[in-house]
Symmetry: C2
Subunit: 418 residues, 2 copies
């Protein structure tokens, strides 16, 4: 334990030392480094694939699910895609140095509100080696030092990838210590990291509910909570049935394992008996298991029964819970009671109900007549995404590069005193 702590503090000190230099690295130099890192990944893909095959073998031995093994797996094409991701980050505007606003005070003081990096960002994530490169690219571009703590399942892939990136970065002039991976797989390391307020400015957990909750409960370092999504689609009395069905199928089935997928469909009682039979048939054709309330089951007896727990559940799977509600008010109540304030959609032709839903639903993204699946940095047009914040502090919704920054006020005077 003490040895782990010492190793982590050494990483923290190196990170802290790199901070000021990296914050002042020019956009041109950061972009050159990103491109060099992308090339290095492609040029060394054999090394990466070999390391990845060890992780896959271990994963199979340890009985990882097929879905997890697929997330863990790297292929030649996936490495090319990951490298292209770095090139895309290089092409994005650099948020650092932006003067967000500036004004002059009556006493002549000139105040500039400028964007600066957050400093040292700790990223704690699970078994996806692509997150490693993603996070490195976004942190470097935004002038942030990154300390990575990936899942033990991907440790060999991560070590190989980070080594290659570090070498390319060093050669391109990125300050030593700007990109670091915690190679200790002992879970105690995470606990220590979460208390390293002297070295880490922000921690961003990326992963399932268990990981996020563990970080929320234990971190004394400020965190950005991401990504638990119990998202709803409410089909109002006036909805276009065809549109509603298309959106519901899209929100549920295109990628059921992601946080912006729909988990619960709410249907206005006045249209339930006309709308639900075709909708549920459509779900079944897409191999979606339907768990309905009593009124849903009265209309579609084939549906399983939803329990109270279902309304709280992020299935991350081809399962949907369906509830008939009396009104837009009951729909909003349900969303506020059981939702996670991530993404919520109303399908309606009624102006007043659209206005009501938009103003009374408190979530990162509130939709009218569109799929919740659009809550995503790329779909929003940010060109990048480090995660989706579901907390109120700092930022909310998809996080791109500007969301990885803080503020420095520059105040220019000529001898002013107060």
């Amino acid at each position: 334990m003490e040895q782990i702590k010492q190793e982590l503090i050494a990483i923290g000190k190196k990170a802290k030392n790199a901070k000021a230099k990296l914050a002042n690295m020019s956009t041109n130099d950061k972009n050159k480094a990103l491109l060099a890192m992308a090339d290095a990944l492609e040029n060394n893909k054999d090394i990466i694939l070999k390391a990845n095959s060890v992780d896959i073998e271990n994963g199979e031995k340890n009985g990882l699910t097929k879905a997890l093994l697929d997330r863990l797996l790297l292929t030649e094409q996936r490495i090319i895609d990951i490298a292209d991701g770095l090139r895309q980050v290089a092409s994005l505007p650099d948020p650092i140095g932006e003067v967000m606003s500036g004004w002059q005070r009556p006493n002549g003081l000139k105040i500039y509100k400028t964007r600066v990096p957050l400093g040292v960002i700790g990223i704690i994530y699970e078994a996806r080696p692509n997150v490693t490169v993603d996070a490195i690219g976004l942190c470097l571009k935004s002038g942030n030092v990154v300390v990575l703590k990936g899942g033990s399942e991907a440790i060999n892939s991560n070590i190989a990838v980070v080594k290659i990136i570090q070498d390319a970065a060093r050669e391109a002039g990125v300050p030593e210590g700007s990109i670091q991976l915690i190679e200790i797989t002992d879970r105690a390391a995470t606990g220590i990291l979460l208390k390293m307020n002297d070295y880490i400015d922000v921690i961003i957990p990326r992963g399932g509910a268990g990981l996020i909750q563990m970080v929320v409960q234990n971190s004394t370092v400020p965190i950005i909570e991401t990504g638990i999504g119990v998202c709803h689609t409410f089909v109002d009395a006036s909805a276009d049935f065809e549109m509603a069905e298309k959106i519901a199928i899209n929100a549920k089935t295109t990628r059921p394992g992601v946080c912006n997928a729909m988990e619960t469909l709410l249907v206005h009682e006045s249209i339930a008996s006309q709308f639900l039979p075709s909708m549920i048939k459509n779900f079944e054709q897409h191999e979606v298991e339907v768990r309905g309330c009593e009124r849903t089951k009265a209309i579609c007896p084939n549906a399983k029964s939803a329990t109270e727990e279902d309304w709280y559940t992020e299935y991350l799977d081809l399962i949907v819970s369906v509830k008939v509600v009396n009104s837009v008010e009951e729909a909003i109540d349900h969303v506020m009671t059981y939702g996670t304030h991530h993404s919520e959609s109303i399908i309606t032709k009624d102006y007043n109900n659209a206005q009501k839903f938009k103003s009374e639903v408190d979530a990162a993204a509130v939709y009218v007549n569109a799929s919740t699946r659009f809550t995503d940095g790329f779909e929003f047009g940010f060109g990048a995404e480090i995660g989706i914040s579901t907390q109120k502090l700092h930022t909310r919704g998809p996080m791109g590069l500007p969301e990885l920054t803080s503020i420095k006020y520059i105040v220019e005077g000529s001898g002013q005193i107060r």
Copy 2:
């Protein structure tokens, strides 16, 4: 303990219930309530003064310092000033509802980034009853529910003040539960409050280093860290001596007990022997105790010796530490090693050194040729201040009304799927 917990959860539930209604209260209605609250305070000043006299009596018995008793004391004039503060908040623009930006995606989706309240804000503070009213006013105007936990020394004043404000607020249509005071003075209450993630969205501690650290170490609710300031003024080789002296005296002596006061003066070696004698004489005339490094003492033998600990210390008193440095680089190093990233100032005529100091010093506010005392919501022109953030997340520097808000993305579609 269990009973305290139940009482706090009851407060939390009431707060959570008020959230949606308060978030949608119109600016006009909020302003009317603020003005009514201000009138109510003035109309009931006898009740407040009587309650305050009990706190003062208890404080005297318990041996509070003169400075603390003064902070605790309310007078007729102070109540009028506090009420005027509410009227001023009423006159400020309402941040809620602002569309910060909006754009259309290639698929026709219209995305609006809108400002919404943070939700429920917990304020933990010490023995200043004016903070009670300040916090209530700023939270109400920004549509946030507030749960107050003030110092036990001010409990009678706070109960009286909050009761009067609650009555006026209720009559003005503010949702029940929007303004609540935790009347339990048991310290255990704070510990419980810091873990109430289900009910409280953000906690803002206002007070001394001990309080802030306790909150940082124990809160699982997201917090905004405020106000520890070990602020420096660096007098560069090219400084205008008269300006430097005037700024240093201003930064040290006008209100030594606040966080933006200077604690350490750094002086370039090439001018130290010319500059320091008059500067230190000036400090002495202002009854400031000087603690110098060896080189300072060589020039001004009357100064006491500064220890390593002095460089870390926020005196909050008429004491200053003085250090002679070799260069702007050493000054920046010192600031980054011992400072708290609050407010830092360079006094110089040298363009390059000004640029260097501005870009390399990492602090909420970095000054050229001005007093650090300007780091303040009013001095920045925000018209209000709930505290000064010294963390990187969410916001940094003085916090006005917009800093008490979060984001909601509204996405309007016409059937878009992904």
